[in-house]
Symmetry: C2
Subunit: 229 residues, 2 copies
Amino acid sequence: MAKNLKYYYDLMSQPSRALWIFLQQTKIPYENRLVNLGKGEHLTDEFKAVNRFQKVPCITDSQIQLAESVAIFRYLCREYTVPDHWYPADSRRRALVDEYLEWQHHNTRAVCATYFQYMWLRPRMFGSKIDPKRADQYRTQMETCLDFIEREFLGGGARFIVGDEISVADLLAACEIEQPRMAGYDPCDGRPNMAQWMARVRDSTAPFYDQAHKFVNKIAQDAATKHKL
Amino acid sequence: MAKNLKYYYDLMSQPSRALWIFLQQTKIPYENRLVNLGKGEHLTDEFKAVNRFQKVPCITDSQIQLAESVAIFRYLCREYTVPDHWYPADSRRRALVDEYLEWQHHNTRAVCATYFQYMWLRPRMFGSKIDPKRADQYRTQMETCLDFIEREFLGGGARFIVGDEISVADLLAACEIEQPRMAGYDPCDGRPNMAQWMARVRDSTAPFYDQAHKFVNKIAQDAATKHKL
C-alpha cells in the first residue's frame, strides 16, 4: 500500500467532490490540500510541480503523482481495502462501470459543466453576457444527455447506474448533475428516476454528500429563490 | 473467459483502429462486424439493439454488450491472456496508463477530431465552408495539445507514453494523432519526439498499424500532394 496520501481539491470542482465523498466514506487516510480555483492557486508554479496538468483533483503519495479523477478512483480501489461495490471485481460489472466512466467525459461532464460555465461562471468571472440562442443550445444538449441517463441508465428498474449497489460511477455522475443547479436548472424536474436515484446516492453517502455540496446547495438555493421572484 | 466475441467497427474511426490493431496483435479470436459510418449504419435500429450509444467501436460476447474503447480495452485485458505491457499489472504503471486514457478524452481525442471534422469531414459531408478564424482557433488548440504531449509525455526520454514498453495508451494516442493528417496537417513536423514515437508505435505493431491506416494514409497522401501543388 502506498503511503502519505495527499489529496488536492476544491469542492467547487465536480470530480473533486466525488473523490472527497469517496475518501470520507471509505475512511482512506489522507492529508487535505485545498487548492482554491477561484484564487487561481492551480495556476502557480508550486502546484504545477505537483500536477503538470494544473487541474484538480489530483493526488500524491509515496510512489506516484496522479491526476484525472477516474484514474485516481481506480488507483485507490487497488491500493486500499474498500468495499467491492465501489468498483466491482466481477468482470462484467466492472466493465459496465468503466463504460459509464468513459462515456461521461463527453456527455454528463461536458454538457453539465458547459451549461454551468456559460450561465453562471463566465458572467460572474468575466462579465460575459448570455446569448439566449446559445443558452438554448447548451440547455438542449444537457437535456438530451439527462434524458438519456433517465431512460437508459436509470430506466430499467436498477437502483444505481450499474445494478443495485452504488459505485464510483454514481458518485461522479451525481456530482456532475448537481452543477447546473447553481445556474437555476433542476435536473430532477420531470425525471422521476433521476430524482429517486439522486436521493439514493445522497442517502448512501450521508452525511458526506451534503457536506461536499454545502456551497453548491447555497448557490442553488439562491438561484431557485431568484427564479421564483 | 467470455465467448463469441464480435467486434463492431469502422477503420475511419480512430478508436476503432486502435482496438483493431490490438486484436490483431494479441491474436484474440473475434468475428468481424463492419459498421459503415459513411452509410449511416450506426444509426439503424438493428445497430441500436447492439449499442444504445450508436457509436463504434463496440463489442458483444456471451456475457456483455460493451461500448467505449477504453472500457473495451480494459475488459479484453481481463478476459484474455495478453502480454502485460499492454495494460500493466504493476499498480503505479497501470495508474499512469489510466491517467493518459482519461486525459485524452478532452485533449488528444477532442482536439484532433475537431480539427479533422472541421477541415475535412464537414466540408465533404455537408458542404460547409471553412472560416479561417475558426480554423486557426482549432489548429491552435490542437497544437497546444500536441506540444504538451511532445514535451510532457514524450520529452523525458521514455520510449512510450508510460515507460519503455508499448501500452494501450500509445495505440489510442497514435490513432488519434493520425487523424488530422487527412486534413493536410503533419503532427510530426517540428516535433522530433513525436516523430520517433509514432515510428516506434508503427514498428511495434507492424504490419497491422499500416493495414489499419490504409485509407487514412491514402487520403493523407492526396492532401499532402495538393498542399505541395
